[in-house]
């Protein structure tokens, strides 16, 4: 029923578009039943999870702790955060179908409306304020990969870039005002490390400062924060521009603008200071002796206890939307994924269908994929969490080798391995590199993994 499917009615796209490449690599599908919420096929989920795992592996050294927070919260939370009013158009509302009207034995508030979360911030504020924190406990850094929903008009939805449901590598840092500089410094280093790893760049930094008229907090607070941000930006050695007066009313921010291979600019990472939510959620920490000495709490603090201070909240994302970042990488690599990220690192083709050949194919597959050849599957123990598994495919159909190679090339496998009677006899294999960004390194790596000799055919 194509009239229900907004993503299939788009005009044809150039071949490098992430949607065309994604189709070739079987990364995701769209459905009229879930406009703006693509369904990730195994290959797409594989890339998604590698991106997630890569960032997770870096979190401890940067002091981030992951949390898992709800998808729906009562309307009253979104009213407290201001989203219900200010973000109304973008939000989805949720109601229990069995709990409308008066429910027998229902608790007060049973029938209250819920909001499907467009952001994680309010939930993280609830976590922060659960226990009274001391100035010594700060910074506290909560990371969260939750699914988020924002209600875009259906006509604008496309692929992985304009969606209604997405995941951010979201995190919130709760810190003392005097810790802002160090936190921003570390975050920019984190961004640099990640973008370097993917060979992305160059990117520029854009600082948006206090708006002229409408802002919360004191001018002194803003000045102090902005000075810290500028110091870090100067120190970063990267080009940065000033967007004077363009900050949100609740705090200054730094945007990271990435230029892709076509020269197109993308706003990916973002670092946003927030003086507002700590106030709305009445977040406090026990002030340090130094903070108590240097005078009373700032006036904007409202109901604050004299011995306490408000933390600053920093919203930050490095990938931004994982879906959008994936789209960017799909175009960036154009099928030549690095080995660790590739959903199709290798395929093994059988020259014929002899039993011995098929056995050798299966043996190579189990070695390359990282699974031990199961001698007694009934007694196989669990694999450790650190086990790496590569999704190695095989083609043992009766087609000709030429047809199989053509098919494997079309599917952009990084390596094509051919196994026939000669390979069985010599316990070797023929290797062709098809779509590998760094062939020499790949062969070197394979030679380390494999217990036998590799013959390279240079037929790329």
């Amino acid at each position: 029923n194509p009239r229900l499917n907004p993503t299939t009615s788009n005009p044809p796209t150039p071949p490098t578009d992430h949607r065309a490449l994604a189709q070739k690599h079987e990364l995701f599908i769209t459905s009229p039943y879930s406009p703006g919420s693509p369904l990730l096929l195994p290959n797409g989920a594989y890339i998604f999870q590698k991106l997630q795992a890569f960032l997770r592996a870096q979190y401890p050294q940067f002091g981030f702790q992951e949390v898992i927070t709800p998808t729906i919260y009562k309307k009253s939370l979104w009213e407290a955060s201001g989203h219900w009013e200010n973000y109304a158009e973008d939000m989805f509302s949720v109601q229990g179908r069995g709990a409308t009207g008066t429910t027998e034995n229902a608790q007060v508030g049973q029938d209250e409306e819920f909001g499907l979360k467009p952001m994680n911030c309010p939930g993280h504020c609830l976590l922060f304020r659960d226990e009274i924190k001391s100035y010594r406990d700060l910074p506290i850094r909560y990371a969260d990969f939750s699914a988020l929903h924002r209600n875009e008009v259906s006509g604008s939805l496309t692929g992985l870039t304009r969606v209604r449901r997405f995941h951010q590598d979201d995190a919130h840092i709760f810190c003392r005002p005097d810790q802002i500089q160090e936190e921003i410094d570390q975050t920019l280093k984190f961004v640099g490390m990640v973008y370097d790893n993917f060979g992305l760049g160059p990117y520029k930094l854009l600082l948006s400062t206090r708006p002229k008229d409408h802002f919360i907090g004191t001018v002194e607070e803003w000045d102090r924060a902005e000075t810290q941000l500028k110091t870090v930006l100067d120190k970063s050695g990267r080009h940065w521009d000033l967007n004077e007066g363009d900050g949100a009313f609740y705090g200054p921010k730094i945007d990271i603008i990435l230029k892709d291979s076509n020269g197109k600019e993308h706003q990916t990472a973002t670092i946003q200071l927030d003086f507002q939510l700590p106030q709305r959620f009445d977040l406090q920490y026990q002030a340090s002796p130094l903070e108590l000495e240097t005078g009373p709490a700032p006036q904007a603090a409202g109901s604050l206890d004299a011995a306490n201070r408000r933390p600053v909240m920093i919203h930050r994302a490095i990938y931004g939307s994982l879906e959008r970042f994936m789209a960017l990488l799909i175009e960036h690599y154009a099928g030549k994924y690095p080995f660790w990220l590739s959903p199709r690192p290798a395929i093994i083709l059988s020259l014929n269908q002899d039993e011995k050949v098929l056995e050798h194919v299966s043996h190579i597959k189990s070695v390359l994929s990282g699974l031990k050849a199961k001698r007694n599957p009934d007694k196989a123990g669990p694999l450790p969490l650190s086990a790496t598994h590569l999704p190695i495919d095989t083609d043992t159909t009766a087609r000709s080798l030429a047809a199989k190679i053509k098919h494997a090339r079309a599917k952009k496998y990084n390596h094509i391995i051919v196994v026939g009677p000669k390979e069985v006899e010599t316990e070797k294999m023929q290797l062709r590199l098809a779509s590998q960004p760094n062939p020499e390194q790949a062969v070197h790596k394979l030679k380390q993994i494999l217990p036998w000799q590799v013959n390279e055919s240079d037929t790329t």
Copy 2:
């Protein structure tokens, strides 16, 4: 506002209740803003993710491929699957707040209602039918850790066991009728491997068969499937009971009933055959020559092409709800988590606050946690995905050692490590085992990790 919070108004619970233990270990909190959706603190998220990672590490050897699917689907999908009608009371409905009424330039169906998914099955059917499958492609096994929502009455909500939002280690196997036996056999092996790993058990197996009156499919289909299930159960060597006629109208099932340390029974894993959804979603595969020989497609197949057959769908979960399984493990281990799962594997206490002592504490922490001591943090490269990180804590406050040890014991750290001037001088450390299920093994492991001598104090 306690009247809004159904989970805090419960009667006091015995000390081994997972809620009491979870509070001590800071695993999760509940909030009046999200009844039935607990917020997992870093320690709880840590356990959750280890459970997830453990299962993920096993998926390749059992042939499961992970997919990522939407949270909300249009009402029409749930009508197609039958959930909108048959599961109404348990479902949440979703609507765009900005897209109600007539939206300018809106597409047809723009304002349609959505359902918040209570199950992954319909989404996996969409993935299956995206491309025409051959009999050779089967079985296809999709795994999915998505958050699910079911609208329980708020009065019944408690901790991690009675919730509205949870995650399953959900998977659906699409296979040929003749593959049922092998798939069930493998699934029971998978269950055994996982439960053994956690030291859970004994458990019994319960087979529910065709109901007398109301069922779909032919008696022959049911008989063939049930015979395969019984064969596997007999072969399993485990005790199993028959629940005659107690199957769902859409297929027979096997429930796994686990007995906990208090003798209480829990239904955790489940394996459910389904002849219905493949029909509702018109799932087909190109039949094998053998299948075509053995006669026409079964009558129940409806609109089926003559050369095609319907796959059987198997719903299966091994943990069941991850939240409920966590609750079970929390009580099962009562704080004595195995090392790999423990959110508090070790704490390092400083005997005083001398600079050299604090440096040694920091050094031991970085070695034990798996992070290299950062000599030049500016040039630190990314850590590999396979890097293991342990959340090692420190206590360098000015309190007395006795007070610190008391505190660490209360928090159930598996290891307590004491560092003072003597340890700095000799480059050693004092180790106390506090809550370790297998102390000898733990010391052995630590000795392997640590580059220096370990002195054990037997003060457990």
